[in-house]
Point group: C3
Chain length 129, copies 3
């Protein structure tokens, strides 16, 4: 069910983008009760001036042009502890496998309901709450 938007520089390598997508999927299935094969991701690449971040940093984080914005839309109900572990797992995997700066990994979650998804075929696959 999660729909993931990954917005990143045009200069990022294909290998890094793949690492990011895998990190998000792996964290979802390992930690956040997302079913296997529930992997739907939209990557959009941007010119340098199209990804805007504060050059002064924010909350102690400093950002570079290699920033990646990860937006996850998924069904509500994950706990704060799960979300904390989810953020950490994504950053750990991207830094380890993609050699990215840890501070450049921005994640935003948006929640919806079980009835807010059609995975194809014009059907509502999930039973509503």
């Amino acid at each position: 069910m999660p729909l993931v938007r990954i917005d990143i520089s045009k200069e990022a390598s294909t290998a890094l983008v793949r690492v990011i997508g895998e990190a998000v999927y792996d964290a979802m299935t390992a930690l956040a009760n997302v079913p296997l094969n529930d992997r739907f991701q939209i990557v959009t690449r941007h010119e340098r001036d199209e990804l805007v971040f504060p050059v002064e940093g924010y909350l102690g984080n400093a950002y570079s042009a290699e920033i990646v914005f990860i937006q996850v839309i998924w069904v509500r109900g994950r706990s704060t502890e799960v979300k904390k572990a989810f953020y950490k797992s994504i950053a750990d995997a991207i830094v380890e496998k993609g050699s990215m700066r840890r501070q450049d990994i921005f994640i935003s979650l948006v929640e919806s309901g079980r009835e807010d998804w059609s995975f194809g075929n014009g059907e509502m696959q999930y039973a509503p709450d």
Copy 2:
């Protein structure tokens, strides 16, 4: 009020993209109480490796590189029955008029409030609840 994001391959024809946009708009106005002319849609086209789906399929659906992701942001309050009919209507119209694979139509809904919209002019046009 709905804002619709349509993410699709760069190889999709202009005619197909138009069919998809019309299918979403028609389903909204016919079934989901969306006013006439409330049609705001953002199309983003992607390289093949930028639209990620499970090659193993999910919930019995199999996907191809022709997958389209339709995200609808609209005011909360539509019933489960309306959403079911909405999904079916969109898929029916796209398959009939666009010759697309029915399983490649992915839809995700996100809800907001009546006060969360400005349709131009710097104003909040809808009275809040």
Copy 3:
């Protein structure tokens, strides 16, 4: 915390896009209790047929190909009055500094929780409610 998506024509000038981004950031910090330097924005540029609006207009607004879609994802809790002032401030600044048509400024808000954000480093920086 806010994540802002700005979708606009490929023909819009870099200067105008900068004005729009600054208008949104300035309105957030001045009116909506957003902290200084909390500025994260994603710009996506589109071909003419990728930004769809009703040629008949909607709610008395008429649109042109220079339409800009501004989507703001932020933490819930802003009042209706704040949102009204937010819309007006953005439109005022863009019209004044960017010479844009006031009716072409479309704004959509989406709300999430305090725990739904990681500003980098794999951490949940905001304490949950």
